[in-house]
Amino acid sequence: MNDVSFEIGARETVAVVGESGSGKSVTALSIMRLNPERSSEIKGSIKLEGKELLTLPDAEMRRIRGNEIAMIFQEPMTSLNPVLTIGFQIAEALILHRGLSRSEAEIESVRLLDKVRIPAAKARLHEYPDRFSGGMRQRVMIAMALACQPKLLIADEPTTALDVTIQAQILELMKELQEEEGMSVLFITHDMGVVAEIADRTVVMYNGQVVEAAPTEDIFHSPDHPYTRSLLSAVPKLGSMKGRRRPMRFPVVDRATGQSDVPAEVPDTIREPERPVLEVAGLTKRFEIRSGLFSSVKGRVYAVENISFSVKSGETLALVGESGCGKSTTGRALMRLTEPLSGSILLDGVDLLKLSQSELRKQRNRMQMIFQDPFASLNPRMNVGTAIVEPLLINNLASRSEARDKVADLLQRVGLSPDMVNRFPHEFSGGQRQRICIARALALEPRLIIADEAVSALDVSVKAQVVNLMLDLQARMGLAYLFISHDMAVVERVSHRVAVMYLGEIVEIGPREAIFQNPQHPYTKRLLAAVPIADPARRLQKRPLNNDEIKSPIRPADYIPPVRQYREVSSGHAVMIWDPEWEKKEAPAVAARRCC
């Protein structure tokens, strides 16, 4: 990081945005003087209300941390101590920094938990962190940060690990708290949508340098620097696909000049008259929870419950939902990486669930999977060439010499150079690794690819490139995709049809346009309303959000799943008839904001 300058006014929110490795987190740590001393060197000046922080003695700096600058982190799961109650952890900060007595601290803790909108704060004070969900833990972290009424709150990717509806709640909470407490916020994020939602001013970082710093509206409407422009063009905007039927490539922007090509709609790839590649009917997967002396079944996770859908050749069906909704389990169950309880999976008319393991191995070649974390899905001890030919050699589809030519071809197809075959996964960047995984999946010439959050972990610009690659491959090879994702904006861009999952069930399925423009199920509406929109002008629309947590699909052992019925909204657009409990909760939200 090099020569970074910006200032944050009182009561102002400044966002530092950039891709991984751009130095945005290092900036935050430097302000707190938390970088490892031996390996880093801070030069320049950091002033808090005119007081220079860099020359302060360590003891004085410790007082500043917590009292005047507080910090919240990305991982709410690991930033709380699991063996202490949350009440104790908040009180500790109060006793230490504000010198309250234990009983005063307890009263103050309840007030703080109330402030961050934790229901039944008093009762939950003596609970341990494992009883809190990710969103609730992040609220606790915020309560702890607020404990000493800091002047500046540094939030390092505070919502990145959270589900989109929870993210919306936390962002809303932070906005409200900032008004109430009158503090300044330095918000570090990679998500332009979040920036548009929350920041007054934005600092764009690239390669350890500030490339642009301006009021957020200016950044979004008239970005100066080519990098800012390329970053913005890669951000999918919910609602931008209105009136288009087919998926669309992301525009490709030259980083040096900022010139962008005009993205076109992809050609029509769906083979309508053919029988679908994949037909799933009544797929169900439950996990048993056993405990006690005789490990009796105490409950079951209804991970996937009676879902049915089909995917045609050349079609992309997106499976969307939040964590725990069963979308990844669906993908794994389709591959029989986890054995489904019942249902049928017809791949080109053959029921995979009726096959023996060895028959399955042959049949499954027509369906391949790419995973969220490309690094984790490559064997670290295997070079890239070997990794890509493995599927061919295992299935005796090529001799070693044929395989070598094939690797070169596959690497070129995914936009990599054939002379990379002898390198190992750690020598590649995240985007390149995902390309390698795609090449490996293509080796068997599958008809369907299950992409389980395949672009979710990638930086925006890389994400755009990989999505473009997937669209090109679909056009060229007639691939069908089952695109599992939580990212509604990307889904809108790439899919032909969308299925929304909630607690293991498909609550709504239909053509993409129908789902995004005319959502019926309350959950679909809530999901769409929660997506941050990369347009600061829309920020002032206050969102009525409920503070519901995501429910858990764990049910008692004697639970009998209700029989669901679907209503056809229009051709191909079906919605589950929902329980009456949705009505009373959702009514105000729907009235206030019809999506997009």
Binding site: S40, F371, A376, H426, A443, L444
Partner: protein
């Protein structure tokens, strides 16, 4: 969790690791070059020169039969080091195979690991003494007797690594493109488990050199016609007060070599530990 067990490139080798490695290499070379370095037969007795302190003709003195201690220590190094390395190799090979098999299947896991638990309930050195007594003296016997008590530890390590690696996405990916259970085990799991097992092997090597001395001490170790550091010390203990040089050199060597081997293990572990990263 990111699971990385590869050697970190560009990481400087720590000083203790470097010094220990060089020291062990020197000891290995000197021991195996013994026939060149000294012309004295470690077994030839000279009854006139018994229990002599170090002198020009016997640089480290002589023992109670007038044998040259320098020659005995050098040749003894061969036996001790071979026992250390062979024990480590044998124990890790058997242990790794058992651990992989246990980690791969549920039934094999239950059976194998209960046997391993049973073995772990017997103190290692007692088991080794019992085995060495039953099978009688000999270098091979000592190696087997020392290796068997070490097997459960390696098996547990290999099993836990297998269980962790089995859940890694790249293993799932391999299954999804058709890799069978054996291929998964040997091409995906084993290569990634080798590094921590190799670290464990260095510790076993050190322990084996030490235990070889124990076995000699209680009289069930390497027979006297093969000098080893252990049996040199064992023979010399009755003369410790009149001729301390007899046990001094082999004892110091055992201590320092075992220390060095452990330092190598520690250094290697630090380099392989995914949690230990140098800031960029």
């Amino acid at each position: 969790m990111t699971f990385s067990l590869s050697w970190r490139k560009n990481r400087p080798v720590s000083t203790p690791l470097l010094v220990a490695s060089i020291f062990v290499l020197v000891v290995v070379f000197v021991s195996f070059l013994a026939p060149i370095l000294t012309s004295v037969d470690p077994l030839s007795m000279t009854p006139d020169a018994r229990l002599k302190p170090p002198s020009y003709s016997h640089l480290l003195g002589t023992d109670m039969f007038g044998r040259d201690i320098l020659a005995r220590v050098l040749y003894g190094g061969q036996i001790s080091l071979v026992i250390g390395l062979a024990t480590a190799a044998l124990a890790t090979t058997i242990g790794t195979i058992l651990g992989l098999v246990a980690g791969a299947g549920q039934l094999s896991d239950k059976i194998l690991m209960r046997i391993m638990d049973g073995m772990m309930a017997i103190p290692g050195i007692l088991l080794a003494i019992a085995l060495a007594t039953i099978f009688g003296g000999g270098v091979l016997t000592v190696i087997v007797a020392l290796a068997i008590p070490e097997v459960p530890g390696v098996a547990r390590l290999a099993r836990s690594l297998t269980l962790t690696l089995r859940e890694q996405v790249f293993v799932e990916a391999a299954r999804s493109y058709g890799a069978g259970p054996l291929r998964v085990l040997f091409k995906y799991i084993l290569p990634n488990a080798l590094a921590p097992i190799a670290v464990q092997a260095t510790y076993i090597c050190g322990v084996a050199i030490l235990y070889e001395a124990y076995l000699s001490f209680v009289g069930v170790g390497v027979p006297p016609e093969h000098p080893s550091w252990g049996n040199i010390v064992a023979e010399g203990r009755s003369f410790a007060l009149i001729a301390p040089h007899m046990i001094l050199y082999p004892s110091v060597l055992i201590a320092v070599v075992v220390l060095a081997i452990n330092l190598i293990g520690d250094g290697a572990r630090d380099m392989l530990d995914p949690r230990f990263t140098l800031p960029d």
